[in-house]
Amino acid sequence: MMQKKGINTVFTAIIAIFIALLTGFIISAISMIFMKGFPDLWTSLFNKEIQFAIKLSFYTSVISTLMCIIFSVPIAYGMVRMQFWGKKFVNTVLEMPMALPPIVAGVALLIIFGNTNFGRFLSELGLDFVFSVKGIILAQFFVNVPYMLRVLKATIQNIDSRFEFVARTLGCNRMQAFFKITLPLAKNGLVAGIVITWARAIGEFGAALMLAGATRLKTETLPISLFLNMSTGDLKLAMASATILIIISLVSLFVFQYLDGNQSNQSRLGC
């Protein structure tokens, strides 16, 4: 009896040690950035380069997040509610950018939009994605859209399809049932998706670096600014960018977890 109790205690202790180790490691890593970054954060905020990076990051991330919404809402709905031939294959393709290292995604985008007929055609139309701000937006969109899709698919899957069906018997066509029932019920999931996609877009580095390059005061978002300032040894500015990025990530994570928790508590019948 005693022996059994001892084994259980040891088992619990081992789990506790692992949890404590990883939690402690993460907290200390993040605190280091805060400790280095906070003292000069206020003065850095008046630095022209940091201001440029903040503005560009917000501008690009907001637009790329909007693009993610525009594409993800109908696609997620279709992938959950509609049946079609080759659906599994399409699903795998849509999730593929998530599996690609961002830098590889960036190279792929650089090839398509760079030296191909398609790239040149777009360039003639004024849509120049290579080494430009538009490239940053495109890279953020390409890398993040699968995350938005995944959150939205889970959200829509969690909404009982009979709500829509009842709405149809009450006179709604498919589009009305979607806009009046499914979309309002998916609100929390949609907002959670927007927050997480936006936070990832703000921090997007690899793909944007490949497609848009790292040009000071031109394609300099916060992560690119961090990279450039680390390379030139300007630790103060680098830490300022890092601190801002961490604050954004942490706030987004808390909002996401709060909204995601709320979403699973509703929209299901018979529970």
Binding site: D160, R162, F163, F165, V166, A167, R168, T169, L170, G171, C172, N173, Q176, K180, I181, P184, L185, K187, Q266, S267, L269, G270
Partner: protein, 249 residues
Amino acid sequence: MLKMVQMSKQLGDFHLADVSLEINDGEYFVVLGPTGTGKTVVLETIAGMYQPDQGSIIYNDQNLPDLYPEHRQIGFVYQDYALFPHLTVKENIIFGAKIKKFPIDEIQKKLDQMVEMLGIGHLLHRYPSTLSGGEQQRTALARALITSPKILLLDEPLSALDPRSKEVFQQELKRIHQRLKNITIHVTHDFNEAIFLADRIGIMHKGKLVQVGTPKEIFENPASDFVANFLGVEHRSKKKDRQLFCMSL
């Protein structure tokens, strides 16, 4: 008249086989059978959630499967009511009338009618999650009835209620039907509910409609051992007991 002709539907392992049935205007028809026999699938196929693989469903010379669910003039009440959780009781009830663009004064008139008929005036500004089972039931029924459907489909509407509410609501269903006189198809596994409400009963077993008749006919002459067992009588025996029971109907 609503007429199903050899309606079949395969859903995974479940097979709804050759359901043929005629339901007259103004009739209260109860589909009776144990859980998992495909009663709900029959309703959902009539309402348009599924297209039948074979057969037709004719109402007023129109084949319902050719119409979208929104054009079938059907009211549907689910076992767990499926009230829209983000809308208040009032918004739930008037949902169909607003979608069908009824004039505002007509919506108000219809809402008042529903409120009076079902006694739910005090609930109008509450959300479904705060309602009791009986209150949700009334709201779901009001929502289905506000657009004056020609066919009302009720999927085990009383199964989630406590015995007392069930009894009260059973009487209300009968009263409402006598007032509205639409075709009502009510699915249940409760024989007592069926004999109280039904003009005719259809008994289902393993995806097939095995017997159709008035409660008395079915009770007096169960078509098979299954029907007899399900109703709690013995097939072609103890006839005297059955007659005694029928006299009490």
